[in-house]
């Protein structure tokens, strides 16, 4: 059925975004600059892992081949992950992590809002309604840090400006629709990411303005994640993410 062929990979793209970014945030555990941010990063990571679980479980059900959320999260090969490159970028310093979160949340909050309001898939709309509220929180928290650091000390401003130079070129992929995604858009499952671009641009511009950050001019946006072509960082990430299931297959808590 067409629904399975396009529906499942389209949902997996989003699930992979959530899983990989959630895992990146979990890497901060025990390393955050202050206790409050330790809790914030872990909490945001937990939200994303929760969203990923719900999406994997839903995709597995539609697919109906017996793949569970754990199979999908832990037992695929690197090329089978379809997350965008932005979320797999290494944490870098706190500025990099917060800017990456801000770019992602500024896209996902309106994305989930539109899925909740208009998706033809009722389960997905239910997941979205919850996720939108969580991403609104992430957007606020990360946006405040971008402003605080961008308009902060000489060093914090330099670090945030460096993060912009490094990460901005990975934001274009948020708006690209893979063939599976295009089908999902056509069948009313998901909103067209292009329809969210103006709102995203506005969110970024407003925060950069307050943060006294310059908007970089990027001629060519990086892409590849949606085709399974990941950066060097992805293999290292998966090595840690998948270690337990690879070393002890089928292990459960």
């Amino acid at each position: 059925m067409a629904a399975v062929e396009t529906h499942v990979p389209a949902i997996l793209e989003i699930a992979d975004d959530c899983l990989i970014l959630g895992h990146r945030l979990s890497e901060w555990c025990g390393h955050a600059p202050i206790l409050e941010e330790e809790m914030a990063l872990a909490n945001m990571g937990l939200d994303l892992l929760g969203q990923a679980r719900a999406l994997y479980a839903h995709a597995g059900e539609i697919e109906d081949k017996g793949r569970t959320e754990d199979d999908l999260a832990f037992l695929r090969r690197e090329r089978e992950y379809r997350n965008c490159l932005l979320v797999e970028r290494r944490n870098g310093d706190f500025a990099h992590t917060m800017l990456r979160q801000f770019y992602f949340a500024a896209f996902m909050q309106p994305f989930w809002r539109d899925v909740a309001a208009g998706s033809t898939d009722a389960t997905l709309a239910g997941i979205a309604a919850k996720a939108e509220k969580e991403m609104a929180y992430h957007l606020r928290h990360s946006g405040e840090w971008v402003i605080r650091m961008g308009d902060g000390t000489e060093e914090s401003a330099r670090r945030m400006a460096d993060a912009v130079i490094e990460l901005h070129r990975y934001t274009g992929e948020l708006f690209m629709a893979s063939p599976a995604r295009q089908q999902a858009i056509a069948s009313g499952l998901l909103p067209d990411p292009e329809s969210l671009r103006a709102e995203w641009d506005e969110t970024i511009a407003a925060v950069f303005n307050e943060a006294k950050l310059e908007m970089p001019e990027i001629r060519v946006m990086q892409k590849g994640g949606r085709d399974g072509n990941h950066g060097e960082d992805m293999g290292h990430l998966l090595a840690e993410l998948q270690f337990m299931q690879r070393a002890y297959p089928g292990q459960t808590w």
Binding site: E36, M39, A40, A42, N43, M44, L46, D47, L48, L49, G50, Q51, R53, A54, Q109, R113, A116, A122, T123, A125, G126, I127, A129, K130, A131, E132, K133, E134, A136, Y137, L139, R140, H141, G143, E144, I147, V207, E210
Partner: protein
């Protein structure tokens, strides 16, 4: 909260269903034990399905809330201890909101030392905007947010500038 219709083949009140609702409603939240799952609005319904089985519908607070499974097991165990076999269904739509916390639940939170959610849930909020949160101990509104994220996903961390007590605030979502 709705109790279901009468069991097939019986007449009059379904006492077991009424008791199931009563037992399920009384189960405390594992992370905030001063309130029950009914107070929080997590317990959506207790009904009887066409096979005559008691079905309890619960809704998670946050996507990644680690207490979800603990809550489901606690409700099922409480019912088993009352001699009632049940099926637990996880309902994600409509999404849980703090608007569903009952007035009694809010008062219990306050008495326990957790400031209840202020206002009603909404979408995006302005950067650096602050709600006025009253200290659950002395009632002062002279309070400062210490951290947007607190001891659990559903709470933020505050400090009272009058009585100097730190306290949790149940975030409004």
């Amino acid at each position: 909260m709705t109790a279901g219709s009468e069991a097939p083949g019986t007449t009059g009140t379904d006492f077991e269903l009424a008791r199931a609702l009563d037992v399920a409603s009384g189960v405390p939240d594992p992370e905030v034990p001063c309130v029950t799952v009914a107070d929080l609005g997590i317990l959506r319904s207790v009904t009887r399905n066409e096979d005559g089985r008691i079905v309890v519908r619960l809704t998670p607070t946050y996507s990644g809330c680690p207490a979800v499974i603990a809550i489901e097991m606690a409700v099922q165990t409480a019912l088993l201890n009352a001699g009632i076999d049940s099926t637990i269904e996880r309902v994600i739509s409509p999404a849980w909101t703090t608007d569903w916390i009952s007035a009694e639940g809010r008062e219990k939170l306050r008495a326990y030392g957790i400031a209840p959610p202020v206002g009603s849930s909404g979408g995006r909020r302005a950067f650096f905007s602050e709600d006025v949160i009253a200290c659950p101990r002395c009632g002062s509104t002279h309070t400062t947010k210490v951290s947007e994220f607190g001891s659990t996903a559903c709470k933020a961390h505050y400090r009272c500038d009058d009585c100097a007590e730190p306290f949790d605030y149940f975030k409004c979502i």
